[in-house]
């Protein structure tokens, strides 16, 4: 039996200094060296019941890949991860590990859990930095499947279908594939070059990509069947921004987080005027919300030189953001105004001037298990020049509006059965389009499951 490293805490990950990084868009976390990775890998006690695996939405064989790191077999470790995960360099960075794999880790009962995300990231980065990667051998089965939306869920489904021999075409409305990985999550958390590398890995499996194609406008679902696609996977995400529904929301200086982040990440507005797209961010910025999107917006605005305050209607404990992100945000000098809820945005000459906030207190837990914010009737006003609204997104209604035979929930989510099929034959759906805005890894898990179901459906159809 090998000796385990019984250190109570994770091997720290090198990071850019908060005061340096809040002025640039380079990646905050720098990743492990081989020595650090091996030291951390030896904290895994290779327990028999493997609770970590059950905590991973795509069931990565965690103890096995960690063991291969210790054996210096990094290629083997990558292959082990890739058996179930198509985008490991991304998951290792953006998964909320504290409520998934690491939340279940045996070492986490007494000490800090094993840094599974960091190790997955290390292995994926090692592989992506290699000059030559052996192509995967695939036997083609000459059947066409269309994937609508090339975000994490679509990419995952496309990769799994391609590995099973299907001829897959991904359609994306934007000029670049990647969905939220490209337009939503900022460069300093998920470098776009890396997303493109992972995308290349998927394309390398023989998947075709057609950008600038909006299903429901440029091409309809009916056309796809006419073109010989035998099944369709809808992974159109939850890109419709929610607004607060309060007076002043259409003043200049008010952004949805989607608009602000799309301008910043996809269009590189932080490099204006080298890039053509502009963004107009004032000196004092208010970000409304407490999720990852709010943290991303706040930290991006900070990097544009603004004084940023996050306004959230519950307390710090209830914030749905990944712990590492809210922690990073605090380190970078973002202010938090918890238990406050905006009730009006007040303008001057058409521009944001002030935000009127109501103080909140915590009541009984609601259906999400979090304590419900209750209005106190006490108000205050705070001066801001910009407001970014990050209170969630709903599924894009375009598919619903152009396909009366695909049923949706009242809030927009596409309804699927236990085969992940929609109410339209041979049309499957998954990811945020079904669940509403969730996480990258849950969307990938849904894509994986759909690929399995599509394969089963098409194989049985032939019999």
């Amino acid at each position: 039996m090998a000796k385990f490293n019984m250190a109570k805490t994770k091997v720290p990950m090198p990071e850019q200094d908060p005061d340096v990084r809040n002025k640039n868009f380079d990646e905050v976390s720098l990743g492990y060296t081989l020595e650090m990775a091996k030291e951390e890998a030896s904290r895994c006690v290779q327990c028999k019941n493997k609770p970590c695996v059950s905590g991973c939405p795509v069931g990565v064989k965690i103890p096995e890949f960690i063991h291969l790191i210790l054996e210096d077999d990094l290629d083997g470790a990558y292959r082990k991860i890739a058996e179930t995960n198509n985008l490991p360099a991304i998951c290792g960075r953006v998964c909320p590990q504290e409520v998934q794999c690491e939340g279940k880790c045996t070492r986490g009962i007494k000490d800090e859990p094993v840094g599974i995300g960091r190790l997955e990231r290390f292995v994926a980065d090692y592989r992506n930095n290699k000059k030559y990667n052996k192509p995967v051998e695939i036997t083609s089965i000459n059947k066409k499947v269309a994937v609508v939306g090339a975000g994490p869920s679509g990419l995952s489904a496309a990769a799994d279908l391609a590995k099973r021999g299907y001829s897959v075409v991904m359609f994306d409305a934007f000029h670049t594939a990647g969905g939220v990985l490209m337009y939503g999550i900022p460069e300093f958390r998920l470098p776009k070059k890396l997303v493109q590398k992972e995308l290349k890995n998927v394309i390398g499996l023989g998947v075709k990509l057609q950008t600038n194609t909006i299903v429901g406008r440029t091409i309809y679902i009916k056309d796809l069947f006419d073109q010989g696609f035998e099944a369709i996977y809808l992974s159109t995400g939850a890109g419709l921004p929610r607004f607060l529904g309060i007076p002043g929301e259409n003043l200049n200086g008010v952004y949805s987080a989607n608009e602000f982040l799309t301008r910043m990440n996809l269009m590189k507005a932080y490099k204006f005027p080298e890039y053509d797209t502009a963004v107009h961010i004032g000196k004092k910025v208010c970000v409304v919300g407490g999720g990852n999107v709010a943290m991303d917006a706040a930290r991006s605005a900070k990097r544009m030189g603004a004084d940023v305050t996050v306004v959230y209607r519950r307390s710090f404990e209830e914030m749905p953001a990944r712990i590492e992100e809210s922690h990073h945000a605090r380190e970078e000098g973002i202010k938090f105004m918890n238990l406050h809820n905006p009730v009006e945005i007040i303008g001057e000459n058409g521009w944001v001037k002030k935000v009127k906030l109501e103080k909140m207190e915590l009541g009984e837990p609601d259906s999400s298990g979090r304590r419900r914010p209750v209005a106190t009737g006490e108000f205050e006003e705070s001066e801001f020049e910009s407001v970014i609204i990050a209170i969630g997104q709903s599924p894009n209604p375009l598919i619903k509006n152009t396909n009366s035979d695909i049923d949706t929930e009242s809030w927009g989510g596409i309804i699927i059965d236990d085969r992940t099929m929609t109410t339209k034959e041979a049309v499957f759906a998954g990811g945020d389009a079904v669940s509403g805005a969730a996480t990258v890894i849950l969307a990938m898990g849904a894509g994986k499951k759909a690929a399995e179901n599509i394969d089963k459906y098409l194989s049985e159809k032939d019999k």
Binding site: N250, E259, Y275
Partner: protein, 278 residues
């Protein structure tokens, strides 16, 4: 890459591009638009589809800022890196068959009004067209619109061609003279559309306006193009661009169109190396 088949300068600041985009050409209907991006560093800019044939999409572009200035430097054979569409809801026109319709366009709005007038004329509506321009040098599509209307009225602000004055004046005069319109469609600067509504509303003539908000994605995912219609928040790119003119908050829409005025000037300065104040 969408190849430019033909580029024609209609006048000093208006360009017509015929772009090869068969998938879009096949699906486009009057009232819809495309979004294009010039190159890797380009912004996404919306342009209304002026006409289509089997293979190609025609757009008419006014040179107003950085991107359109750079578009003017392109020639046939060059291409746009990204060209996506058709976007927006098509204008509902079929129910106007046999009705008396007035199409009112201002400046570049003429290019947008043209496919609507043409379609209405083809389905058998009685179509009057009123087109307004600053002066006679910037008049576009006169022959095309003459062929697609029963009566064509052209106005110029300075009287250098046609009637002198604004389109609203002609519209008001025609109504006063006893013309009975069942519907008015208007496309142009927000201030012009607001004034057209001020003419039609007292006579209770239903009026459709085509809003030209600032856009990013054009697919309903950011809300940059939002406006207030009948007290509700709408996105011009997916709920429009056409709306009931009686219900649109034009003052708010005009304010929102000034959101990036400072940055646009900076952008033009970078390209021209000179200071512009317009």
């Amino acid at each position: 890459m969408a190849r430019i088949i033909e580029k024609t300068n209609l006048n000093d600041n208006t360009i017509k591009f015929v772009v090869k985009a068969p998938a879009i050409a096949k699906k486009a209907l009057p009232g819809q638009f495309i979004i294009l991006r010039l190159d890797e560093k380009g912004e996404r800019v919306p342009f209304t589809i002026s006409s289509t044939d089997d293979e190609n999409v025609t757009i008419i572009v006014q040179i107003v800022g950085g991107t359109t200035m750079r578009m003017n430097a392109l020639k046939a054979g060059d291409g746009f890196l990204d060209f996506v569409g058709p976007l927006g809801k098509p204008t509902e026109l079929d129910y106007l068959k046999g009705k008396n319709v007035c199409v009112v366009g201002g400046g570049l709005g003429t290019a947008i009004a043209y496919p609507q007038a043409k379609y209405l004329h083809e389905i058998g509506a009685n179509v009057d067209v009123i087109m307004g321009f600053k002066n006679k040098d910037i008049i576009i599509l006169e022959d095309e619109l003459k062929a697609s209307s029963d009566n064509l009225y052209i106005t110029t602000d300075d009287g250098s061609y046609g009637r002198q004055g604004f389109v609203t004046q002609v519209l008001g005069d025609l109504i006063k003279e006893g013309k009975k319109y069942d519907h008015v469609l208007t496309i142009g600067p927000a201030i012009m559309m607001k004034n057209v509504v001020n003419v039609t509303k007292p006579h209770d003539i239903p009026t459709t306006v085509s809003m030209n908000s600032i856009m990013v994605d054009g697919t309903g995912m950011c809300g940059c193009c939002r406006l207030t219609v009948g007290g509700e928040m709408k996105f011009a790119c997916v709920d429009g661009p056409d709306f009931d003119g009686f219900l649109v908050d034009f003052d708010e829409a005009m304010n929102r169109s000034r959101n990036y005025a400072t940055e646009e000037r900076e952008h033009i300065c970078k390209l021209t190396g000179e200071v512009r104040n317009g």
